[in-house]
């Protein structure tokens, strides 16, 4: 049997990779296996996982927004949802927001869950609490203005400025 990668050298390594019960057979020559990082056990490797992923993502994504997923684009890095579903990789952290409406089924299939329950970083977690507080104060400010409670509104505005500065410097 010839190596399935290069087709030039005989395949000397035959192995099976099982991810979530899906079995894939590989027949590689030593050189191609090394290039793929497969030869040394214990090495992280990424080559087949992305092929597998795009297989997972190429199903019809139900649209919650009325827009087809294919039209979505991350306005920070420019990655389109179509590109994402082909490569199986996000372009930047903002892609998670841009494609949010379509990620639930993917995460459910990959992880059986969609919400993080682990470690929260002190700083980013802190910013998150501040951001939530900020939202709350802004809503309160709107109400205060509507009720013409200007003294209260001025206090709220100061507090909001403080918080914004804190978030900017975090």
């Amino acid at each position: 049997m010839m190596c399935q990668e290069c087709g030039q050298r005989p395949a000397t390594l035959h192995f099976t990779k099982i991810v979530n019960g899906d079995k894939t057979e590989f027949h590689l020559c030593e050189r191609c296996a090394r290039e793929k990082g497969e030869l040394i056990p214990g090495m992280s490797n990424t080559f087949s996982i992305h092929n597998l992923l795009s297989g997972l993502m190429n199903f019809d994504v139900p649209t919650h927004t009325g827009h087809p997923a294919q039209a979505l684009r991350c306005n920070v890095c420019g990655l389109t949802y179509t590109q994402f579903s082909k490569t199986g990789r996000f372009g930047c952290p903002a892609c998670y927001e841009a494609f949010d409406a379509h990620l639930e089924p993917l995460f459910r299939r990959l992880h059986g869950a969609t919400a993080h329950t682990g470690k929260v970083p002190a700083r980013a977690g802190g910013v998150m609490r501040l951001a939530r507080e900020l939202e709350r104060l802004k809503a309160e400010l709107k109400q205060a203005v509507a009720r013409e409670e200007f003294e209260r509104a001025a206090q709220l505005r100061d507090r909001i400025r403080q918080l914004e500065a804190q978030i900017d410097h975090a």
């Binding site: 793929k36 992280s44 199986g88 996000f90």
Partner: protein
């Protein structure tokens, strides 16, 4: 890797890797060279903090290494092949004791890795988390309230943790129970990778068991699940070793001793045969068959007989034939020295 640590007769090493990214930059494969440089710069500055001083990190930009140096780092599991071969503007920070390595601009901006000998998942996680906290004090991580740590690949999102344990399972392979046990492991959400030679035999009887799920479970849950499964695998392997000794001691000792004989006398040896014979000798050491040889010697040989190390040892690039000859010589000398014979 000194071959010590809990359950070192079966568990070679425990590794915890955390994937982290900076909030305001594209992931490495999409980033421009100047954005990658910005990542390097920020991480390098973050590493200068006082909290990290005790680990004495060495900062190594990938473009300052030649091919052989990179390969040596890959063989020591301090960097991934991806960082060695594909990363533009990649770097690694390695602690003085080589237990911690922080890859920069691999698939994610940061990959914090901790590698311990034996079964020490909780210890590896605690150290990785401490390094993570210290870096986070100086870096703005990409973190999302609902999705957790944001990663380039959706398979790592959430905790960003990949924990893995490398186990040596010769008796389960010999008694042909390994397939059944590995299938059971898959069913509890773990992944097993082994390198398969002819038939169903894994090269060197080494298997890596790791978590697959990173989202929706806490780090502690993920590690406990892996630890529990590995403990069971260890028990099965010990039982299989005992029963082999009871029913087939002479045959087993003959096989292991023949492997020792070949390794301590061969003049030419290919890497595949070397890994398989070293597995036999490792089992022999665990069963008390070869005095003087330690798991540390075997771990060292497993790493040192790989192409990068052999070429660095030789100080030059070698053809496969030259490598086979040097590999045989290196193993011969080490084993004979350890066993107190002459080389």
């Amino acid at each position: 890797m000194n071959g010590s640590g809990p359950d070192a007769d079966i568990v070679v090493s425990s590794r915890v890797r955390l994937a982290r990214n900076l909030r305001d930059l594209p992931f490495p494969y999409l980033a421009t060279n100047s954005q990658l440089e910005a990542v390097l710069e920020r991480v390098r500055r973050a590493l200068g903090q006082e909290a990290l001083a005790p680990y004495r990190f060495t900062w190594i930009p990938m473009d300052e290494l030649d091919e052989i140096d990179k390969r040596v780092l890959v063989e020591k599991h301090l960097i991934s092949p991806l960082l060695a071969e594909e990363a533009r503007k990649g770097a690694v920070a390695i602690s003085e004791d080589e237990r911690i390595s922080i890859m920069v601009n691999e698939e994610d901006h940061l990959r914090i890795q901790v590698l311990f000998p034996g079964l020490q998942l909780a210890e590896a996680w605690q150290l990785a988390s401490r390094i993570d906290d210290a870096l986070e004090a100086a870096l703005n991580y990409a973190f999302h309230e609902r999705r957790g740590y944001l990663t380039a690949c959706p398979t790592n999102v959430g905790t960003g943790i990949r924990a893995s344990v490398m186990v040596h399972l010769p008796a389960l392979v010999m008694t042909q129970q390994v397939g059944r046990i590995l299938t059971a492991i898959h069913q509890v959400g773990l992944v097993v990778r082994g390198l398969y030679g002819e038939g169903s035999e894994a090269l060197g009887n080494l298997f890596q068991i790791s978590n697959q799920i990173t989202l929706g479970r806490s780090e502690e849950d993920i590690l406990e699940n892996l630890h529990g499964v590995v403990k069971q695998v260890i028990e099965h392997e010990r039982t299989a070793r005992r029963s082999l000794l009871e029913t087939n001691r002479l045959k087993l000792e003959d096989r292991l001793s023949r492997s020792f004989g070949i390794l301590s006398h061969a003049r030419i040896i290919e890497s595949k045969e070397a890994i398989q014979r070293l597995s036999d000798v490792r089992l022999g050491v665990d069963l008390g068959l070869f005095r003087g040889v330690t798991p540390a010697t075997l771990n060292e040989l497993t790493v040192m007989t790989q192409p990068g190390f052999l070429q660095r040892w030789a100080g030059q690039a070698l053809t496969p034939e030259q490598r086979d000859e040097r590999r045989a010589r290196l193993i011969r000398e080490r084993l004979n020295r350890a066993a107190g014979g002459e080389s």
